[in-house]
């Protein structure tokens, strides 16, 4: 039952994110736009590049989708409304997100095309930059909850959301989650206008439809992770818990799309330099501050 509800939620939220993305690119609200685009993609020919690594080329979009769904599987929408409430939930989110890299490398290598290849390897560099900024803020969140259970993490924010308790961690996690979803200004692996779509350049038709869906679900999954870790998950007055989750996740997704929309694309070397020279020291500082707060307040 939970499985069905969560999957339906992921799909509908992904649809709304697609509508917003469409609005940002075309300047108009077209509520049926993504539906028509999806139908059109399914109707079009899905071309196969010359001499592809067929196995990787076919697997990559599916693996991206699976990774995004698995990451969302341990994030609760309401008390009891979670696919798997793992004792290692907060760690499992990282484990699932690590396969986003594998999917992008496969999509980069698979089609035997220069743009895709550059895009795939670029994402490897991007992961080296952002991965610590995903793991370290989550560590601080788990420190406060004294648990890796995602439901415990939500409950730990009953008095005060982590957004206020550890704002530094929130900022770092939010920026890093933009990089996970390769959203602007971190859209280095796809880089429209420079790599002509990069890892997604050679995909068309039904394969591209799966790829786009996976990317949208990934955005929703990261928004759900931000909600659970920093915005108190389902907690909130008056409205039912699940509705609070939905509102927060959609708001974070919108913020993720809007945040990068007005920024220029960052260079790979700059991203690495900023993440390692500034991001990691700040993440360590965040862990230290949270450690002190945990010791004083409890």
């Amino acid at each position: 039952m939970s499985l069905l509800v969560v999957v339906l939620f992921l799909l509908s939220a992904a649809y709304l994110v697609a509508v917003l993305e469409d609005r940002l690119t075309n300047g108009r609200w077209r509520w049926l736009g993504p539906a028509w685009a999806g139908v059109a993609l399914l109707g079009r020919e899905s071309t196969l590049p010359r001499k592809p690594d067929r196995l990787f080329f076919e697997t990559a979009p599916l693996l991206l989708l699976v990774a995004a769904v698995l990451a969302a599987a341990v994030l609760p929408l309401a008390p009891g409304l979670v696919i798997a409430d793992l004792a290692t939930g907060a760690l499992f989110v990282n484990a699932a997100l690590a396969y986003v890299l594998v999917a992008l490398l496969m999509a980069g290598w698979g089609p035997d095309g220069a743009y895709a290849l550059v895009g795939g390897w670029r994402f490897l560099g991007q992961v080296v930059a952002y991965s610590m900024l995903i793991v370290m803020p989550i560590t601080a969140v788990a420190m406060r909850a004294e648990s890796l259970l995602t439901t415990d993490i939500v409950v730990s924010q009953e008095a005060l959301w982590n957004l206020v308790y550890q704002p530094l961690g929130f900022v770092l996690f939010f920026i890093a989650s933009l990089a996970v979803c390769f959203l602007p200004p971190f859209d280095l692996p796809t880089a429209p206008g420079e790599l002509a779509g990069g890892v997604a350049a050679e995909y068309s038709g039904a394969r591209l439809a799966v790829w786009r869906l996976a990317r949208l679900v990934l955005v929703v999954a990261l928004a759900a992770a931000t909600t659970v870790f920093y915005l108190g998950g389902w907690l909130g007055p008056l409205l039912p818990p699940w509705l609070w989750s939905v509102v927060k996740i959609l708001a974070v997704s919108a913020a993720m799309l809007l945040g990068g929309h007005y920024l220029p694309r960052i260079r790979e070397a700059q991203l690495l330099a900023w993440c390692w020279k500034l991001g990691i020291p700040l993440a360590l500082l965040n862990i230290f501050v949270v450690g002190v707060l945990v010791l004083i307040w409890t």
């Binding site: 690594d53 990787f56 004792a87 290692t88 760690l91 499992f92 484990a95 396969y99 890299l101 594998v102």
Partner: protein, 178 residues
């Protein structure tokens, strides 16, 4: 009647062996690296089937990044990373096959001859996943702290040293002059 636990152990065990064999069968460096990744992921899944949740999730997480980074090095340093030029990576085939078969037979004999604890009561003896995480944390910050800290600092030192060595001497002398 085999339990689900046994079934998944066998399933992921066979998957680990198949992917492990694929590492050496393919000549594409990328396929080789990712086959090794999925072999390791299958091992992680075996840990999950054995109710070692933390270990399993950690294995599944760590290997994805590690093997991907290994892939780029394999592509960089091999003369034929795509495997399109009929490059043969294998050598000493007879010895390898003999060693492989001997090791497999040896492990199988141990697996069959060992006195495994039987019965359903062993399942309940396994601590819950939450208790395991807690026990691991206490262990890491208690008795084993010195070992892990020493290992961690040693690895960090090695990484810094390797990076320093990798910077070409030319650049270093230029930076020195300016």
């Amino acid at each position: 009647m085999i339990s689900w636990q046994t079934f998944f152990m066998a399933f992921f065990g066979i998957a680990a062996i198949v992917f492990g064999a694929a590492v050496f069968v393919t000549s594409s460096m990328m396929r080789s690296a990712l086959a090794l990744l999925f072999s390791q992921t299958a091992l992680g899944a075996m840990f999950l089937a054995m109710q070692a949740e933390f270990l399993g999730v950690l294995q599944i997480m760590m290997m994805a990044t590690e093997m991907s980074i290994m892939a780029i090095f394999m592509v960089m340093f091999m003369m034929d990373p795509g495997g399109l030029g009929d490059m043969d990576m294998s050598h000493q085939k007879r010895l390898s096959i003999l060693a492989g078969v001997a090791a497999a037979v040896f492990s199988a004999v141990i697996a069959i001859a060992a006195h495994w604890p039987a019965g359903p009561e062993t399942l309940s003896e396994v601590a819950s996943a939450g208790a395991q995480v807690r026990a691991l944390g206490v262990e890491l910050l208690g008795r084993s702290m010195l070992i892990f800290e020493t290992a961690g600092v040693t690895i960090l030192t090695a990484m810094i040293a390797a990076t320093a060595v990798a910077i070409p001497p030319l650049q270093r002398s230029k930076a020195h002059e300016s």
